[in-house]
Symmetry: C2
Subunit: 169 residues, 2 copies
């Protein structure tokens, strides 16, 4: 994360400039490096399996899954964006693509004309049921097969805090 230093950042006695940044400690690096690799590799692997099996990436899968779990199989765009951690723009493009495939359909909100509802179609539901088993198997093989119950509990305690922190702005 930090550039290799040329010489110790010795400063004049009177120092108005910015303080030397607090670089990561070696204990922090021991968590940071694998975390960076994980956030790079895991989405890649999930995408690849789904793309081979279903022709869609993990983001698109999440949309189908969230709709499937929702009452009436429909959600507002803003809710979907929240649940999938996607930006409004990304979600809008993604729903376009899923609509082209016939797996979701947009319809206008009933109370507020600004909101758009996205509903899972019957074909979308069938597609999800078709591809879900292979996906959950992949998730098991990539992630949970390598974690003890304690590990899982640790992650369930730690990760939500990081998400809330990363979510800020």
């Amino acid at each position: 994360v930090s550039p290799a230093k040329t010489r110790p950042a010795s400063r004049a006695v009177v120092d108005d400039g910015p303080a030397e940044p607090r670089w990561l400690t070696s204990a922090e690096m021991a968590a940071w490096l694998p975390l960076v690799h994980l956030v790079t590799l895991l989405p890649q692997r999930l995408d690849r399996q789904l793309r081979n099996d279903a022709g869609i990436g993990h983001g698109y899968y999440q949309i189908l899954a969230m709709l499937s779990a929702a009452p009436r199989h429909e959600l507002r765009m803003s809710e979907l964006a929240d649940y999938t951690a996607m930006s409004p723009s990304r979600l809008s493009h993604a729903v376009d693509a899923l609509e082209d495939r016939g797996w979701v359909r947009r319809c206008a909100g009933r109370h507020d004309a600004r909101v758009q509802l996205t509903r899972l179609t019957a074909a979308g539901r069938r597609e999800l049921e078709r591809i879900a088993p292979a996906h959950v198997a992949e998730v098991r093989q990539r992630v949970f097969d390598h974690l003890s119950r304690e590990d899982i509990a640790h992650l369930a305690r730690i990760l939500p805090r990081l998400v809330d922190a990363s979510l800020a702005t």
Copy 2:
């Protein structure tokens, strides 16, 4: 991750088909959902800060940082791909872009004509030193400010295992 079920997947007594997949338990879901959000949001946030400050994403930053830490400030493409968890193709494109900016330069390997070395230029080094403080501050604010020493130790123990698991194939 799983589709909402219509009816219990009751099967005939004689069952040749694939077994009902082992869906995630609620304890697993409590780790999985924030993990998915984290791998979506964290790269996004890191990218945004770096892009605003330096005009490059986090992947490009990693290349500069890895080169800066290497002996002679140079690495083979395959090593760089390993250290940054990038595919050879992605790395090649990224090095193109960094070369255009004048921050790295390619040169042929000395022993094996197949290998390409990428070296950090003086301008690249200066740029890295310029942008590193703001980046490390971002990493602290987004991640480490929210973790106890114990949390960090847990992650340093758990995450490498997940990376090795995700890295397989």
